[in-house]
């Protein structure tokens, strides 16, 4: 599993910022003005690279007949040929329904596209206090018969004060509680370096120090946690869950160089970073059932 970083500074030689003329309308909200009127376009002397017709990566090889469509690999060339290029290679324009079917077939080969919207994760402490105030009012109506008994102190003789134990490991329960507020989150990104503790899904398998997270190869700085990909992402990628060889993870943690360094030569624009995978532990309910069925009384 590899991860690469490719980034450009805001002032660069490839894209230029273009302000649109809509300045009058956006006087009300400066924030919106800054975001909605900005657009980027390529600088004049930059020629965009040709992209593979199937996946959008760099297209190095062209179709040998028409030289119009380029591909990144032989596999995609064959796939595009079968999906519909075979009929319309060499022709100027193909009829609309066939072109639509062609693009649909190509889309089926890729993961589905979604929009990621980003929101801030509320601070746990404040959020709990806020929510509990509202919800205890609601719950009060449902449980009118249940009132805590008179304020007698429970004798601490036999009774243990802790919660009941369950088979599921504690780290997973905390993880589930944290994502409950936004169950469909797919990426957790940390912007500041004082909050860079990732949300682990189990106690085992946490990446350790320099062994799992090597230092940056280019500048030697110790890598820091930047973002993690959550397992909910697998729901949206329409991966077949029944195939036991399909990809599955607990969480993918990406550690990057804190100084965002890049190598000296201008051609090298991809910098490798470190990625760690943490799987779920095998604790869970059901183990007790199996043990009970097999006569183990523990």
């Amino acid at each position: 599993m590899r991860v690469f970083r490719s980034q450009l500074p805001e002032q660069n030689q490839i894209y230029v910022l273009q302000e649109s003329e809509d300045g009058a309308d956006s006087a009300e909200d400066e924030d919106t003005a800054a975001d909605s009127n900005v657009s980027w376009s390529l600088a004049e002397n930059v020629k965009p690279a040709r992209q593979c017709a199937v996946c959008g990566l760099l297209g190095g090889k062209a179709c040998s007949k028409c030289h119009h469509r380029v591909y990144c690999s032989r596999g995609h060339q064959v796939a595009d040929w079968n999906a519909g290029h075979r009929v319309q290679c060499g022709q100027a324009r193909s009829p609309a329904p066939e072109a639509a079917a062609h693009t649909r077939k190509l889309q089926l080969m890729l993961y589905p596209e979604h929009v990621i919207s980003s929101e801030e994760d509320e601070d746990e402490g404040q959020q709990d206090a806020g929510n509990e105030d509202e919800e205890s009012d609601d719950e009060g109506e449902d449980n009118e018969g249940i009132k805590p008994e008179s304020m007698a102190i429970v004798p601490v003789t036999d009774e243990r004060v802790e919660d009941s134990e369950v088979d599921v490991d504690r780290a997973f329960l905390l993880f589930q509680r944290r994502i409950q507020k936004n169950p469909d989150q797919v990426i957790r990104y940390t912007r500041s370096s004082d909050q860079n503790e990732p949300l682990f899904v189990s106690d085992t398998g946490k990446p350790e120090g320099r062994v799992d997270i090597p230092d940056c190869e280019l500048c030697g700085a110790a890598r820091e946690f930047e973002f993690q990909i959550m397992p909910q992402m697998l729901n949206f990628l329409s991966i077949s869950s029944t195939d036991s060889a399909s990809v599955d993870w607990g969480t993918l943690l990406v550690y990057t160089c804190p100084s965002n360094c890049s190598s000296a030569e201008p051609a090298a624009t991809y910098a490798p970073e470190a990625i760690c995978r943490q799987n779920f532990s095998s604790h869970g309910i059901g183990e007790k059932y199996v043990r009970a069925m097999h006569g183990d009384d523990s």
């Binding site: 809509d22 929009v115 919800e135 249940i146 805590p148 994502i179 909910q232 869950s241």
Partner: protein, 267 residues
Amino acid sequence: MADSAPADSRGGRGGFGRGRGTRGRGGRGRGGRGRGRRDDGEQAWVPVTKLGRLVKDGKIKSIEQVYLFSLPIKEYQIVDAFLPKLKDEVMKITPVQKQTRAGQRTRFKAFVAIGDSNGHVGLGVKCAKEVATAIRGAIILAKLSVIPVRRGYWGSTLGAPHTVPAKVTGKCGSVVCRLVPAPRGTGIVAAPTPKKILTLAGIIDCYTTSRGSTKTLGNFVKAAFVAISNTYSFLTPDLWAETALTKDPYQEFTDFLAKEAAKKSKY
């Protein structure tokens, strides 16, 4: 995110300025509105584990199938999906106090028993600063501790099983709770506390005997729960015969479960 709603409503005017650069903002508004709460106050479940995804898609039919191949269940929503008719009952809420430098810190401890009156029962205990949080947490813990109950006959094996299969006992702290098979029509002869759990478990007739400080509800209810969970660990003569593992080759999902079992057996 107060500015995301007005930004959307001005979409018509700023229409041509909204190109690639504004996709993010539109998405944010969409996400905020679409992520609304359903009527029961909970948000839709997005499964996290592979088993959760299979269950949400409806590929696995019953919880016994999962237990048979000993796949761990980590999400309580899976139990919810298999047993939709689970009824929860709050048995007691007590305040518990701890002495701190700044006075006393009071928390509330909630005991919740959950069951479908047809062979599955769970017990959850949670301590929290507010009553509602304690109850909610206890319900989740109860769902995560759901256990199957084996029922049997007192005399003739005519009709559905109605009582415990044998005399079972459970102990917690100083409380010992013993369940004894009873003939049909007896009902549950027990103190109110274990009676609630036995009803939720689906046991129709039962004699019980208890000993120890049954006033401590926590230990009493846990002892009854342990006794019920021992019904499946009791070896009766009808379990002597060896059962062969059957696998239906035409169901691809049973296949997946079997592959998981094979992987596990390689350890």
